[in-house]
């Protein structure tokens, strides 16, 4: 497969995962704000921004401006519309490699979001809007699995999707625990109710609330939540699950390309998978969880740059001999 094509498929998929992630995060936050005191809401928006590696728009920290900036602002690299546009541009490059159904769905979703603004959704139904974006992304994923050959290209899409998911989950946990540890230290623990709602919102932003309850009941313990999102082998948004898929996709690609240069990528993805498979939450929590999460994000970044170097843009010296 052409390197350019693999690159485009990878990024198309990555950007769409980002769209879905942001939509879910913003949606959970907007809904939660209805039940919580304004001070808590403000803190939570700050966490959300931190987890997306974004900053608040200048001179505005209210929910509406932040939502606007993270959704419709084309100049904001972290916004939903920017990611959707990037996904669509990548899809256009490989129009003949993906099915017509996939292209049409992506195009439709892009047009839907690009034709409205914050004033159209804010006072009426922000939830309905974000849900439709999530569903649009899910539909694309479903169409991908149902209509595309599950060959090399599909595996590159899996790779992009799960690398994005793994690092987003790690970033989200990091922001949450940064906040949790701080309030712990300063002994100004908020009222139990706000605290509880916070964790509910956190789980929901990972579509994990119901799945968590099935495993641990509705008794929300930060340690259990960390364990669930980091180490659960079955939950599709856990870090361990993503690491397993990354490893699986890469192995499939290695088999097809038969490349001699894939050793480093295999080692990195195998290590990430094994680290999470054999980890125990007590060990992680007894150490510095934030350092651990930073390490996870770092490993995802390394995997990305290795894949980039091996498959998308290898240095000429490496491929010529």
């Amino acid at each position: 497969m052409l390197s350019r094509v693999a690159d485009s498929l990878y990024w198309m998929s990555r950007y769409l995962e980002r769209v879905e992630h942001s939509a879910r995060l913003i949606d959970a936050n907007v809904v939660l704000a209805l039940d919580q005191a304004p001070a808590f809401a403000e803190q939570r928006w700050a966490r959300l921004l931190a987890s997306l590696h974004a900053t608040a728009p200048e001179g505005a920290s209210d929910a509406r401006s932040i939502t606007d900036a993270l959704t419709f602002d084309r100049s904001n690299r972290a916004s939903i519309i920017t990611s959707l546009g990037a996904a669509r541009d990548n899809a256009r490059q490989v129009r003949e490699q993906i099915s017509s159904e996939m292209w049409e769905q992506l195009n439709r979703l892009f047009l839907q979001v690009s034709q409205i603004g914050i004033e159209d959704i804010w006072n009426i139904q922000p939830h309905a809007f974000f849900r439709s974006v999530k569903e649009g992304a899910h539909l694309f994923q479903g169409l991908t699995d149902a209509t595309m050959n599950q060959g090399e290209g599909w595996h590159f899409m899996e790779l992009g999707r799960f690398i994005e998911r793994a690092s987003a989950t790690a970033a989200l946990l990091d922001a949450q625990f940064a906040h949790y540890n701080r309030t712990e230290d300063e002994e100004e623990r908020p009222q139990a109710m706000n605290q509880y709602l916070d964790w509910v919102g956190f789980l929901k932003s990972r579509t994990a609330f119901e799945a968590y309850c099935q495993v641990y009941t509705a008794d929300l313990q930060p340690e259990r939540i960390a364990e669930f999102l980091l180490l659960n082998p079955e939950f599709p948004h856990s870090l361990r699950f993503a690491a397993g898929r990354i490893n699986r996709a890469l192995q499939a690609i290695v088999r097809v390309t038969n490349s001699r240069r894939s050793g480093q990528a295999e080692r990195l993805t195998g290590r990430l998978r094994a680290t999470l498979e054999y980890a125990q939450i007590d060990e992680i929590l007894s150490g510095n969880i934030r350092a651990y999460l930073a390490e996870m994000q770092e490993q995802c970044a390394q995997i990305h740059s290795t894949i980039h170097e091996v498959y998308f843009a290898p240095p000429l010296a490496a491929v010529l001999n």
Binding site: M1, L2, S3, R4, A6, R92, Q93, R95, E96, S100, E152, F156, I253, V256, T257, N258, S259, R261, Y311, P314, L316, V319, L320
Partner: protein, 476 residues
């Protein structure tokens, strides 16, 4: 149905001058008379939907969100008899064979110039003549692998050549798509009519390209080089690549090392043997041609000259489809093949010639003036349909650069029935068959019939509002 159908001086494809249908149109005519008008409208909608769903579109330049439109399509097939087709086939095979010999001669000994077949300066003043190609040997001496030649039918019923397209002719995907759609919309008529099939075009094209591969490469890698998604024919490029099962590449996917072309794949570099390029000469290699081109591959020309990669078509073939050179093609056929041309040319005035120029300048309101290096219906003056101001503008341009223009009589292109707003009306058409040349010429029986959809218009180019229709070659 036919109430708005009136005959005039032009050749009508369906009706004889006495208004009775020609034999090979008889069955279509009878069928149309029996069909209720709504039925045709319904089928037209079905056809349009089919085009849209298959994504058979062309990109409209200049629109931000990359608007894609379907090419206007007419429902009624254009029918050519097997006998007529056989003449076309022999005529085009002869013409392409001669032009290929001519190209080889021009870039080597130039015997035809020494023999005075055509004036030397015609070649050296041609914008598409590539000095860099002199003395370069191309694989199997094949310069033009893929050709699209535009034919028109004269009032007396003979086919004549209007122009050759020897560089990167496009439109063949519409020929194939039209047929696919028509089979869905009019399945019964196909059963009755004995239409010659064209679906093997992709396979024939692949064989033509394979013929260019070096013999020591038994499993050659063949790719289609596209300028990219913003090119108006991008759909066709993806379509043909899929039909042939070859990789669709852009310039940035290729690189040249030690005069060998490679493509960058996830499994490392893969050597490329044949490039079916849909990029113009100018943009192929920034080191050899236009330095500002980002569509090409640096070093490609050197690899080509070294014989390590084949290009279809070769570089510099545009010298043979120059509109001024066109006037000499009959002489070229006589010189290289020692045969009389089977398909006639259209009478052409060369404006570098004093007397001919004088005549043209006095008759601008009757003639068609064309810029020699343009295609796609751009840079044209159609005398009878032009204003005084336009004529004056062309007069000034001709005086300034006579070599850049030619003139031809305004021809009454033949007309064929088209389904327009619920009625059948005649519209002017031409015919572009596609010729594949790999030492011998091969044609699939059919072509792209282009239609000037505006009443009375003579311009059939899709960039100028033309449409297309399916072309049937039928055996009685």
């Amino acid at each position: 149905m036919f109430t708005r159908y009136q005959l005039d001086g032009a050749y009508d494809e369906m009706f004889k001058p006495d208004a009775t249908p020609r034999t090979h149109y008889e069955r279509l005519y009878q069928r149309l008379l029996r069909l209720p008008p709504d039925e045709l409208t319904r089928r037209e909608q079905a056809a349009e939907l089919s085009f849209l769903q298959q994504g058979i579109t062309f990109t409209v330049y200049g629109s931000e969100e990359g608007t894609e439109r379907i090419i206007p399509h007419d429902l009624l097939p254009r029918i050519v008899t097997g006998n007529e087709w056989d003449t076309i086939e022999r005529g085009l095979a002869q013409r392409i064979t001669a032009l290929n010999l001519f190209l080889k001669d021009i870039y080597h000994e130039a015997r035809c110039l020494a023999a005075g077949v055509l004036p030397r300066e015609l070649i050296y003043t041609c914008r598409h003549f590539r000095r860099e190609m002199r003395g370069v040997n191309v694989p199997r001496d094949i310069y033009i692998s893929v050709v699209g030649t535009d034919l028109i039918r004269l009032p007396d019923g003979r086919f004549a050549v209007l122009e050759d397209n020897l560089r990167v002719p496009s439109g063949v995907s519409y020929m194939l798509a039209n047929r696919q759609v028509m089979r869905h919309v009019f399945p019964l008529m196909f059963r009755n009519y004995g239409v010659r099939p064209i679906d093997h075009y992709g396979q024939a094209l692949l064989q033509t390209l394979r013929a260019l591969a070096p013999s020591q490469r038994p499993n050659p890698t063949i790719v289609l080089l596209t300028p990219g998604v913003f090119n108006s024919a991008y759909y066709e490029h993806t379509f043909l690549a899929r039909q042939m099962g070859i990789e669709l590449v852009e310039g940035r996917d290729l690189l040249v090392h030690d005069q060998v072309v490679y493509m960058r794949t996830t499994a490392g570099l893969q050597r490329v043997d044949v490039i079916y390029r849909r990029v113009d000469d100018d943009f192929l290699d920034p080191l050899a041609f236009r330095a500002d081109s980002t569509l090409g591959v640096a070093g490609l020309f050197n690899a080509y000259r070294a014989g390590n990669v084949a290009l279809a078509n070769a570089i510099g073939t545009g010298v043979a489809d120059d509109k001024a050179l066109y006037a000499y093609v009959p002489a070229i056929i006589r010189y290289f093949l020692d045969e009389e041309p089977i398909l006639p040319n259209v009478e052409t005035f060369l404006l570098t010639d004093e007397t001919q120029r004088q005549y043209v300048l006095e008759h601008l309101d009757e003639l068609v003036v064309k810029a020699v290096g343009e295609s796609g219906g751009y840079g044209m003056l159609i005398g009878p349909h032009s204003t005084r101001a336009e004529q004056e503008e062309f007069r000034a341009r001709i005086m300034e650069q006579p070599r850049n223009y030619i003139a031809q009589p305004t021809l009454a292109l033949s007309r064929a029935p088209c389904f327009i707003d619920g009625q059948i009306e005649p519209r002017h058409i031409d015919l572009r068959p596609y010729i594949l040349y790999s030492g011998e010429a091969k044609l699939v029986p059919g072509g792209l019939t282009r239609v000037a959809l505006t009443r009375g218009s003579l311009v059939v180019n899709s960039s100028q509002g033309g449409g297309s229709k399916d072309t049937w070659v039928v055996d009685p």
